[in-house]
Symmetry: C2
């Protein structure tokens, strides 16, 4: 029996605005699975402090040990436990999307895009402990994501939300897209 | 002395609509350098028939021999011979963009995006000799581009044009963006 869930996967470079899309999804009644949380949980299980550095190292180890879709696999129990509308935030490769598609039959891939300059300025303004302080740090962090294959997932997205304006503009576009996906899904059922 | 040209590089998966953006650029007075033409010229120079298969093989050989930015380098003479507004169509990796930036000081990277489903239907409708006839052929051809690193260039684009509607809609968006870039450049000069 095909899975009846609407599964929306979100991919975007650091600072592109993924979490705003997740916020809108929550408002619309989606359960949100944050892929980074699955890695954080795995870090705790292994007794590691969940610093950005540790998490990135752990992800590398996990991928080497258990294949490129390991983080998606860590999310399966969370998706299984979710309701009919699920948004997965933090796709980093097409392998992960394909793992979700193999398991749940269908997953809509949404990319959030902002230019490097815009993302850098946002991350600097945000100033989380882990956020880059210089252009070089920013580019290095981008490079980690790009190495995993995030660009391929962005290139192969089913929908792109361009986020060069205000948070409200992005949220409006996200609301419109998600509402359309929910309606389309309802129409198919 | 910094180069005074406005150099716009266009990246997009097969069938995304790059050539429509080039068409608009020509209308606006840009010289258009098609990266594939540079490879075709190199093929002729080597006495090769310019079939899709031969060109892809030649690009692979060139990259192995002369590095990941070789196709950009083959375009330098064409850009050098161009006027103040140049659009380079057919970027396949960030290495190529960086080569243009090293040589010309600045290059604006524009990605054209359409979903895999939309691109497949367009390419099938277009039916050039080299276009895919099945979903499998389409995905294989995408894979060739993704292997070169086209996804990274798309992820790192300065601007994205989403092309899910009519050709006219894309051309309107492209005209607006290019006009803005030309004006910005004029303002800076």
């Amino acid at each position: 029996m095909p899975d009846k869930r609407l599964l929306v996967c979100v991919v975007g470079m650091p600072g592109s605005g993924k979490s705003l899309v997740a916020e809108v999804a929550r408002e619309l009644g989606f359960d949100v699975v944050v892929m980074g949380d699955a890695v954080r949980r795995e870090a705790r299980r292994r007794g590691l402090e969940p610093t950005g550095e540790n998490l990135r190292r752990l992800m590398k180890i996990l991928r080497a040990e258990r294949g490129p879709a390991v983080v998606a696999e860590l999310c399966f129990p969370l998706v299984d436990a979710s309701g009919p509308l699920v948004l997965v935030d933090g796709i980093r490769s097409l392998d992960e999307v394909e793992a979700f598609r193999r398991r749940y039959g269908r997953a809509v891939l949404v990319a959030v895009h902002a230019s490097p300059r815009t993302r850098f300025e946002r991350l600097r303004a945000r100033g989380r402990r882990d956020d880059p302080r210089s252009w070089e740090e920013f580019r290095e962090r981008d490079e980690v994501e790009l190495q995993v294959g995030i660009g391929t997932a962005i290139a192969m997205a089913d929908h792109v939300l361009v986020n060069e304006g205000t948070p409200e503009e992005l949220k409006r576009a996200a609301r419109q897209l998600l509402t359309k996906l929910v309606a389309g899904e309802a129409g198919r059922a």
